[in-house]
C-alpha cells in the first residue's frame, strides 16, 4: 500500500536501498512529490499545526499574499505560547497575546481550519495536542512553526519545525522544499535503572554528542530501552532532538504506539484502522538498514540528569560535581548560573520549580511528579507551578485527584499553555532566581531576564520543590 509509484530515483545513499531501508527513508521517500535535484525534494505535508504566534502570523501573511489555503482540512490550530495560564484566564489575561489570538480565531473562521480554543478539549501545547487527538499518525509528515515539532516523531511520523516563510509555503501548497537529511540512529540498549526517565536519556545523549551532534540528521531512537518506553515518554525523548541539533527525531511505531492511538479523536476507525495498521507495521527500519551515523548508549549507565549551564549540553548526572570550565563559554555559563566549579550539583538551593512544557506536561509526567509528594510540602522559599499540557491532561489529572495533591503540597495548579518554558506570556522566573524546570531550554534569559534554569525530569523537579534544593529523586 505504501508503494505508490512516487519513489525517487536511487541516489546511491546507504539508506536508499529499497530492500534495507531505515524508518526515516520509509517516511521520506513516499512523500516526495518531485525530485528537485542535489538532494532536494518537494515533500508532501500531511498535517500542519498552528499556534498563536507563528500560526496566526502565517495565516495573515498567506492571506496578504493573496493565496488560499491548499488543504484547510489538514491544518489544526490551538493557542499556547502567548496566553496566560493563570486560573480563570481568558484570551485577554495576558494583554500582549490578545491580538495574536484574535487573529488566529478570525483566520480560523475564515479558512475553516480546526481551532481548539481556550477551555475546549484539545486546546493545549501544540505538541501535546497533536498526539493526544491522533492528528499525527505513524507514516505521516507534519510541520509546525515551532522547533519542538520533532516531539511528534515519537509516534513514528516525520515531524519537524520550520520558519515562518516555509510555513506560509506549506499553507499555500501543502508541500515543502526540503533537503534530505542524513540518517542517524541512537540505540539505547539494556534496561533503564529505576528512577531514570526518558528526559534523562535524551539529556545524557545531548551531553555526550553536544548541541550540534545531530545537525543535518534525522535521528531515530531505537534499542530495547526505547521499545520499553510508554508512548508519552517517547514524545519526551523526541522533544529534545532539536537540542541535539536535529530537526527530526523519530521512533518506530509498535504495539505501544497503536494501543495509544486507538480510539483517539482523529485516529482511523474500523476497516481504515486495519489498513493503517498494515501500513504502519512496515515502517520500522529493516534489520540490516545502514545509517549515516550509528551510536550506542548503555541505558543501565544513565543516572538522573540535570543541567548546570546555559546550554542543554552542559549537563551532568545528579551525583556529579560542577565541572571546571573548559572554555570562555563555560566560565560565562557558571557566572550566569551563580555556580562554583567543583561543588556537587546536588544541594544547590532552588527558588522556583516549573513542571510543564511540550517536553514534560502529559498525564504520566504529572503522575511521576505527584508520586514524589507523599504528603510532604513544597519548601517555604520555593514557588512551584504545575502547568498541564492540555485541557484534556488537566481534566484527566483532576479526575484522579492530582490537582488536589499538588495544591495540598503547595504547588500552583494552572491552565494549559507554554507558560514558563517560553516566557512569552507575561509569566517569568524573576531575575537571579534559580529554577528547576521540566522544559527543554536553559538558555540565558529563556525563563525571564536573569533567570537561572536547570533542566530536569518531572520527578527531579518535584523533589527539588520539596527539598528546596536540587535533589536526587531516587532518594527523595
Amino acid at each position: 500500500m505504501l508503494d505508490r509509484g512516487a519513489l525517487p530515483r536511487k541516489t546511491g545513499r546507504v539508506d536508499d536501498d529499497r530492500m534495507t531501508r531505515t524508518l526515516f527513508a520509509k517516511l521520506w521517500d513516499p512523500h516526495v512529490v518531485a525530485d528537485l535535484g542535489e538532494g532536494w525534494s518537494l515533500l508532501h505535508i500531511d498535517r500542519v499545526l498552528l499556534h498563536d504566534l507563528s500560526g496566526a502570523r502565517a495565516l495573515a501573511e498567506v492571506a496578504a499574499a493573496g493565496h488560499a489555503l491548499a488543504r484547510p482540512d489538514l491544518v489544526f490550530a490551538t493557542p499556547d505560547h502567548a496566553i496566560s495560564t493563570a486560573p480563570g484566564r481568558t484570551g485577554e489575561t495576558f494583554p500582549g497575546g490578545a491580538a495574536p489570538l484574535a487573529g488566529l480565531r478570525q483566520r480560523a473562521r475564515e479558512t475553516g481550519i480546526r481551532l481548539f480554543d481556550l477551555g475546549q478539549p484539545g486546546q493545549g501545547i501544540v505538541h501535546v495536542m497533536a498526539p493526544e487527538l491522533a492528528i499525527v499518525l505513524p507514516g505521516t509528515t507534519l510541520v509546525c512553526g515551532d522547533s519542538h515539532t520533532c516531539t511528534n516523531g515519537g509516534v513514528g511520523a516525520l515531524a519537524f519545525g520550520i520558519g515562518a516563510s516555509e510555513l506560509s509555503h506549506v499553507l499555500a501548497t501543502q508541500t515543502l522544499m526540503q533537503r534530505r537529511p542524513r540518517a542517524m540512529r541512537i540505540r539505547f540498549e539494556g534496561t533503564l535503572p529505576p528512577g531514570v526517565t526518558a528526559k534523562d536519556m535524551i539529556l545524557h545523549a545531548i551531553g555526550r554528542f553536544g548541541t550540534a551532534g545531530g545537525t543535518g540528521f534525522a535521528v531515530e531512537y531505537a534499542g530495547a530501552a526505547v521499545r520499553a518506553l510508554p508512548l508519552e515518554a517517547r514524545l519526551t525523548l523526541c522533544n529534545l532532538s532539536i537540542e541535539l541539533g536535529a530537526k527530526m527525531g523519530l521512533i518506530a511505531p509498535d504495539e505501544t504506539t497503536y494501543a495509544y492511538l486507538a480510539g483517539r479523536r482523529f485516529a482511523p476507525r474500523g476497516a481504515a484502522w486495519d489498513a493503517a495498521l498494515a501500513d504502519w507495521r512496515r515502517l520500522p527500519s529493516d534489520p540490516d538498514a545502514a545509517f549515516d551515523a550509528d551510536h550506542w548508549i548503555e541505558a543501565g549507565d544513565i543516572a538522573p540528569q540535570v543541567t548546570w549551564g546555559t546550554s542543554p549540553e552542559q549537563v551532568l548526572p545528579i551525583t556529579g560535581r560542577i565541572p571546571a570550565p573548559a572554555s570562555a563559554a563555560d566560565r560565562a555559563a557558571l557566572d550566569y548560573m551563580g555556580l562554583e566549579a567543583g561543588r556537587p550539583i546536588e544541594g544547590t538551593k532552588v527558588d522556583w520549580v516549573f513542571i510543564g512544557s511540550c517536553t514534560n506536561s502529559r498525564l504520566s509526567d504529572l503522575r511521576d511528579a505527584a508520586a514524589m509528594l507523599r504528603g510532604r510540602r513544597v519548601a517555604p522559599h520555593v514557588t512551584a507551578w504545575v502547568v498541564p499540557g492540555s485541557e484534556t491532561v488537566k481534566r484527566e489529572a483532576e479526575a484522579e485527584g492530582l490537582d488536589r495533591a499538588f495544591l495540598a503540597a503547595g504547588f500552583a495548579w494552572r491552565e494549559p499553555g507554554c507558560s514558563l518554558c517560553v516566557a512569552a506570556n507575561g509569566e517569568t522566573v524573576p531575575p537571579g532566581a534559580r529554577s528547576v524546570s521540566t522544559s527543554n531550554r536553559n538558555f540565558v534569559g529563556r525563563q525571564g531576564t536573569g533567570a537561572r534554569t536547570h533542566l530536569a525530569s518531572p520527578a527531579m523537579a518535584a523533589a527539588a520543590a520539596l527539598a528546596g534544593a536540587i535533589t536526587d529523586p531516587r532518594r527523595a
Binding site: 518531485a34 537529511p181 550540534a212 531550554r441
Partner: protein, 202 residues
C-alpha cells in the same frame, strides 16, 4: 525576497559558539511584531558589553557577520533572520549553522556561508587589526569570499538556492507551477492510504 549578488563591507567578529535565536531576538519582542522593525532589538541584552561589537563603531551596521560554530541553533523563529537583516546584515559566515535558521536565511536573502573556523578567525583578526579599513567581499555568483588580504576563498552552496538568491525568487510561486503534480500525488495517496485522509475529513 531581497536578491543577493555581491556585498563588500565590514565583517563584524562575533566569535561565540552556539549563538541561539533567543540571543538574537527574545520571544517577547516577537509577540505582535512585524517583520520590519526588529533590528533595534537585535542582541538586546548584549548591547553595551565590551565584547559585543555590533552596537558600536566601527562594526555597527556592518553587512557581514563572522560567527562561531552552530550559529542560529534553538528556536525556529524566523524573526532571528528578520532581526539580523534589520541590523543591516546581508551575510553570516560561520563554521556551522542550526538547520532551521539556515533554511530561514534563504527565505529572506540573508546569505549563510560555511567556512572553516580557523579561516573565520583569521578574517576576524584581520578585521580587528585594521578596524574600519579592512573589507570583506561576498560574491555569490563566483561563490567566493574575498578576505581583507585579497585571498578568494571558495564556498559551497546548492545551485537552486544560489539561483533563488541571485534572482530573489519566491518559493511559493515556483511550487505553484507544480500544482498538477501535487494534486496527482494527493489523488494517488488518498487512494493508497485512505486512512491518512479520511480520519481528518471535515
Amino acid at each position: 525576497m531581497q536578491p543577493f549578488t555581491t556585498v563588500t563591507g565590514l565583517a563584524a567578529p562575533l566569535m561565540w559558539a552556539n549563538v541561539d535565536t533567543d540571543m538574537i531576538i527574545p520571544v517577547q519582542r516577537l509577540v505582535g511584531s512585524t517583520r520590519d522593525g526588529l533590528g533595534p532589538y537585535g542582541f538586546e541584552r548584549f548591547r553595551g558589553r565590551p565584547d559585543f561589537p555590533l552596537d558600536q563603531p566601527p562594526f555597527a551596521g556592518a553587512p557581514i557577520l563572522l560567527a562561531g560554530e552552530n550559529f542560529g541553533c534553538g528556536s525556529s523563529r524566523e524573526g532571528a533572520v528578520w532581526t539580523l537583516m534589520g541590523m543591516g546584515l546581508r551575510c553570516v559566515i560561520a563554521p556551522s549553522f542550526g538547520d532551521i535558521f539556515h533554511a530561514n536565511c534563504f527565505q529572506n536573502g540573508l546569505l549563510p556561508v560555511r567556512l572553516p573556523l580557523g579561516m573565520i578567525r583569521r578574517i576576524a583578526e584581520a578585521m580587528e587589526a585594521s578596524p574600519g579599513n579592512a573589507r570583506v567581499t561576498l560574491d555569490l555568483g563566483r561563490q567566493e569570499v574575498v578576505t581583507p588580504w585579497g585571498e578568494a576563498l571558495p564556498f559551497a552552496i546548492d545551485a537552486r538556492k544560489k539561483q533563488a538568491l541571485l534572482e530573489g525568487l519566491d518559493d511559493i510561486a515556483l511550487t505553484r507551477q507544480r500544482e498538477a503534480e501535487i494534486l496527482a500525488w494527493q489523488a494517488r495517496d488518498s487512494a493508497a492510504r485512505p486512512w491518512a485522509w479520511d480520519s481528518v475529513a471535515g
